[in-house]
């Protein structure tokens, strides 16, 4: 049996089942949709066990048990805390999952504060000012100067739009109006690029159907 060929036919059938929803909701689509959920979750479980639990928890556990190395026992603490996630399965002990969640959230928040501050606030503020050093040094042309000013105006106005403690009246109103214009251009760019992305997905599927399945194109 040529498993490759069977695979292509299965894939083509499932692809067309999903496209059938464009005509209207129907059993083929619902079958494919549910099969997809099941299969992808199953894949996720297998991978998170083999590439997550095994190397991070089971292997160190096994090594600790077999070798009895004292430093291995320290690893047992996080493993036990991780196991508390399964308290979810017993309604009376559900609250125990707060322990591992609290640790992960505390870790995530703590590491985020200084790094987000540096990467997204310090660096982005610096990037906004930086072109003016070039202006002062005289290395930026007329058009470049315009773009540098445009950037500062854009950043300040956009931030003003998201400023909630002051009524948008007078000059603030105008700043926020300019801000919304910048925002719309930003969203418009995202819109155009998103269209490109979604269409590419469709092209790939058609390429599969016409090429791999029907062999009409090379």
């Amino acid at each position: 049996m040529d498993w490759n060929l069977i695979g292509i036919w299965v894939a083509a059938f499932l692809t067309l089942s999903i496209y059938s929803v464009l005509y209207r909701d129907n059993p083929f689509y619902r079958f494919a949709e549910h099969l997809f959920v099941g299969v992808s979750v199953g894949y996720g479980i297998v991978l998170s066990i083999y590439q997550g639990l095994v190397p991070f928890a089971l292997k160190p556990l096994w090594e600790t048990v077999t070798t009895g190395a004292p430093e291995g026992f320290i690893k047992l603490i996080p493993i036990c805390i991780g196991l508390l996630f399964f308290a979810r399965l017993s309604p009376r002990h559900t609250w125990l999952i707060r322990y591992p969640i609290a640790i992960l959230i505390g870790f995530g928040s703590g590491i985020a504060i200084p790094n987000v501050l540096r990467a997204n606030i310090f660096e982005q503020t610096r990037g906004t000012i930086a072109p003016f050093a070039e202006i002062a040094a005289g290395t930026l042309s007329g058009w470049g100067i315009f773009e540098a000013i445009l950037m500062v105006v854009g950043v300040i106005c956009t931030l003003t739009y998201f400023f909630f403690s002051v009524e948008h009246r007078g000059p603030v109103k105008w700043l926020s109006k300019v801000g919304i214009a910048f925002l719309m251009i930003g969203f418009g760019s995202a819109f155009g690029n998103t269209v490109m992305g979604r269409v590419a997905l469709l092209i790939q599927r058609v390429d599969f159907l016409l090429g791999d399945w029907l062999n009409i194109i090379s």
Binding site: G52, G82, P100, Q124, F182, V195
Partner: protein, 207 residues
């Protein structure tokens, strides 16, 4: 035990991570490495548990016979087959790979390509230049779309791709930067509230 200990844990781990970011001493860096290894170990358990929720939902659907409940069996069939093959033969097994390549992959790839159709129909029926803002958005979108493809450049003598690049590099950049700054302030403020125990929603309901 139920609320105080998690709050303390969250505070301790949060402050420890902040401390290690400012202290290069080998003692602090030792803590840093240890906490990361803890987080690495605890993380995967959450991932495995997330699937339990899905199983519960679908068993509930079958039990309550909600509309289209029969399809929940399809979910279970797919899940069980993948898990059995994967667990017994490891993810590198050809049969597991075959299922991924010919069942999961085509459906996942197809699902979002549906949006190409919906975008086209919304383009005709819904995307209206009803206000100044919406007009600006649509005009930008049209320029970027034409700048993204070779035919746009052919028709406009490369103006489209130059305009696209300028828009992305300038007004788009400012707007995005404004958003990044705003959102980051939000993220930091939320992190501060979490560490200090002001924000407790992650504990969920109950006592």
């Amino acid at each position: 035990m139920k609320r105080q200990v998690p709050l303390v844990l969250c505070f301790v781990f949060g402050i420890a991570m902040i401390f290690t970011q400012f202290s290069p001493h080998s003692f602090s860096q030792g803590i840093y490495e240890e906490v990361i290894s803890w987080a690495l170990i605890i993380g995967p358990f959450a991932l495995v548990l997330a699937t339990v929720t899905l199983i519960q939902t679908h068993t509930a659907r079958i039990r309550r016979r909600t509309e289209h409940w029969q399809y929940s069996f399809v979910v279970f069939a797919g899940l069980i087959v993948m898990v059995l093959i994967g667990m017994f033969f490891k993810p590198q097994n050809p049969m597991f790979v075959w299922l991924y390549n010919n069942v999961q992959l085509p459906m996942d790839a197809t699902m979002f390509s549906l949006l190409a159709f919906f975008i086209a129909s919304a383009a005709y029926r819904a995307f209206r230049a009803r206000t100044f803002e919406a007009s600006l958005l649509l005009i930008t979108a049209l320029i970027v779309m034409m700048g993204n493809v070779p035919i746009g450049n052919l028709l406009s003598n490369d103006t489209a791709s130059e305009a696209r690049q300028w828009i992305l590099d300038n007004p788009n950049l400012s707007a995005r930067r404004g958003i990044i700054l705003g959102v980051s302030l939000g993220v930091i403020s939320q992190s501060i509230r979490i560490i200090l125990g002001i924000e407790r929603s992650y504990l969920g309901g109950g006592d």
